[in-house]
Symmetry: C2
């Protein structure tokens, strides 16, 4: 089955909002085995939406729209789609009752009421995080039309809980993908290592570069999800073997998830002391549910006197070598480890920009990891000339997480210098 | 002039990557006064791209493509577009030399060399953050075709520094927009307050909801950018006046920028103590260049013993009332203010989920602000049933920033309880 996605909204068309809905819907359609040829965005304009819809049905069997289901006058998707399919809008009693309860004690006018008007005979998708329901129906020509709301927090649960089960009746095959995530290796180098593995048609392997990491996606198509998964497995294993210990996980959400889960497993505690990253490392760790078991304390020590007062970084080092030197990073890692009574301490100091500091260039960042026996260092310099603050901070926090991952799994560090005994 | 954007890439089509390029390009095209009707995404498939291109030229005068300019075999945009426009690809000497320098000492093969092949007679856009150049040219029918690379870090500077100046020769009018940002008021309530102001055709006013704030965009179209700006001004002022002190800024990047700039102006220092937000507040503050002048110290005190040890939160409160109570929030704010010797201290404690804690529900978060004279409290509960961890953490940090903004500007707090003298 061929599928197409139409996003409706002038704010998307003018670039005021980045369109994430299309990606969310596309992933689910691909997982159901539908063949997506084309996605597009139109403004809140009934005539153009009708034209687009007509074109879409000329190419595709399934059309999913996002957006334009709200209560205001520029929300035209439902009326336009129903008219194009020759269906009347009728009041859906269940939705009407839900909305009356939802708006109890507040104003409930015609525009709210309009949200209960849905194409006759459609399957209604309940909105568990907002007011506008979605729906799906089959046209007289046997084409499938699904309408979903625009706000991602409404769209995502409706898509997964209602629209995917509805659409699965047309799924005649399935795609399965597995992602092998790596840190510390570029997309180009990774592609060289697996170039022969990237030649196949089913399963396929392809490389993708993210901000500061890369991943390889292995994808297979088969009759069932299980068969597709089984097809992926051996190729994914080969990719993982080639990329070696740069791989931090397969089908994992992030480096921080891998680190937090392993700390939990080993019953180890971490504490952090951050200067230029300003709390980003702590924030990424504590974003993982369950982090409180492995993380009790993080310090953001931006000023030198605070580094000395809270972490015991010797004033002499700060006076003679400055805040951005390996010795300060070591003292921060060791200091926060001791202060928290933790197994691991991480210290990060450096220049995230936009200006140089202490004569050190933007992008020069030192990351120390203390485990009670040794203190290890990773030094960031250069970064291919990239100097944007947010990127450098993110990269520094990722390097810290990767250093800890390598210690936890007993892997050699990259670009790492073992330092004095603690 | 009508304009259209075509994004090329199977990873976009399958939803593996969220398409931000289209939004970046759309904003610039709108600012040049071009009329965007339609944007679409196609996979790395030459035949479908050629069809899409043909359709686009049937509707539009200007077509901008993003993606598919890289060195690998699935990068087909340049070949396809050149063929569709009847242009040969020829070697661009300047680019060839740039690439040879770029790859000095590394492998430089045919695939790298292919990136110097560009449509004959085109205007070349230099890539300052990568290897693949972009370009623009006019077809025999007088249509304009511009090609830009896919990675946002390459696309954005090329778009702004090279493509916009190139495209501006066709701009016959200009759009100017101004955004009025508000925190603490919903999109619906804001729309009610300004409903009469939203009726005009030029300038227009429209409301937009973001994750935890909203903004009103006032847009005008005129012959020149300056005239358009002048048209916006009085309407923007009216909107701002109606929304009152919910407005935290006009055409500002974020709440944290407003707070950091005002702290700098007043020469005041801030310190933070975070529990459930885990460093997100510190991270957002230190993301602003210049934050080191106003922020010396942030603590992430996840465990109770750390709250007691570092901040002096009385053990008795922790034992009897727990970590999530107003008294703990107050003690955190006051403790971190004293410890840092700062003018303001912020303490955040609460339940970000996914599980309840101490019998308190997910979403119950307490935010305290101590200024040395008083300690103020904002309590978050409910949040419309939303329980996702990242949203709740972000909302808590935003509330803390908004509390501080209101103190700094001498505005009354919302939902705020003044507490005991410090």
């Amino acid at each position: 089955m061929k599928a197409e996605i139409i996003s409706v909204g002038t704010e998307l068309l003018l670039g005021q909002v980045i369109n994430s809905d299309t990606a969310y819907v596309a992933r689910e359609l691909a997982a159901l085995g539908f063949d997506i040829r084309y996605t597009c965005t139109v403004g809140d304009n009934s005539r153009r939406l009708a034209e687009t819809l007509q074109n879409a049905f000329a190419h595709s069997d399934i059309v999913v729209t996002t957006g334009g289901l709200g209560p205001t006058d520029d929300d035209l998707t439902k009326q336009t789609c129903a008219a194009a399919a020759g269906r009347k809008l009728v009041c859906h009693e269940g939705t009407k009752q839900r909305l009356e309860t939802y708006f109890k004690g507040r104003e409930f006018g015609q525009s709210q009421m309009n949200q209960a008007m849905l194409p006759q005979g459609c399957t209604v998708f309940q909105n568990d995080h907002g007011t506008a329901p979605g729906c799906g129906f089959t046209t007289e020509d046997g084409k499938v039309l699904v309408m979903l709301p625009g706000p991602p927090r409404e769209l995502l649960p409706m898509l997964q809980n209602y629209a995917v089960p509805y659409l699965s009746q047309w799924a005649d095959g399935a795609i399965s993908s597995t992602n092998i995530h790596a840190f510390g290796i570029g997309e180009g180098s990774a592609a060289e290592k697996i170039s022969d593995l990237m030649q196949g048609a089913n399963p396929t392997a392809a490389t993708y570069a993210l901000e500061d990491e890369m991943y390889v996606r292995v994808t297979a198509k088969a009759k069932t999800k299980e068969e597709a998964q089984a097809l992926c497995k051996p190729l994914a294993a080969q990719v993982q073997q080639r990329l070696g210990d740069f791989v931090y996980g397969t089908d994992v959400a992030s480096l921080e998830v891998v680190v937090v889960r392993e700390l939990q497993k080993q019953g180890k505690m971490l504490a952090t002391a951050e200067s230029c990253t300003g709390g980003m490392l702590a924030e990424r760790i504590t974003d993982i549910a369950g982090a409180s078991q492995v993380f009790h304390m993080g310090l953001v020590t931006y000023a030198n006197e605070i580094k000395n007062m809270l972490l015991g970084v010797p004033q002499e080092i700060l006076n003679t070598k400055g805040a951005v030197c390996p010795e300060t990073a070591f003292a921060m890692a060791q200091g926060v480890r001791q202060k928290a009574g933790a197994d691991f301490g991480i210290g990060i100091t450096g220049v995230a920009g936009p200006k140089t500091s202490e004569g050190k260039p933007v992008g020069y960042i030192l990351i120390a990891l203390a485990d009670g026996e040794h203190t290890y260092l990773r030094t960031m310099t250069g970064q291919g000339g990239r100097k944007d603050r947010d990127y450098l901070r993110h990269l520094a926090a990722s390097n810290a997480l990767d250093m800890l991952r390598r210690r936890l799994f007993g892997l050699p560090d990259i670009e790492c210098t073992a330092f004095e005994k603690h």
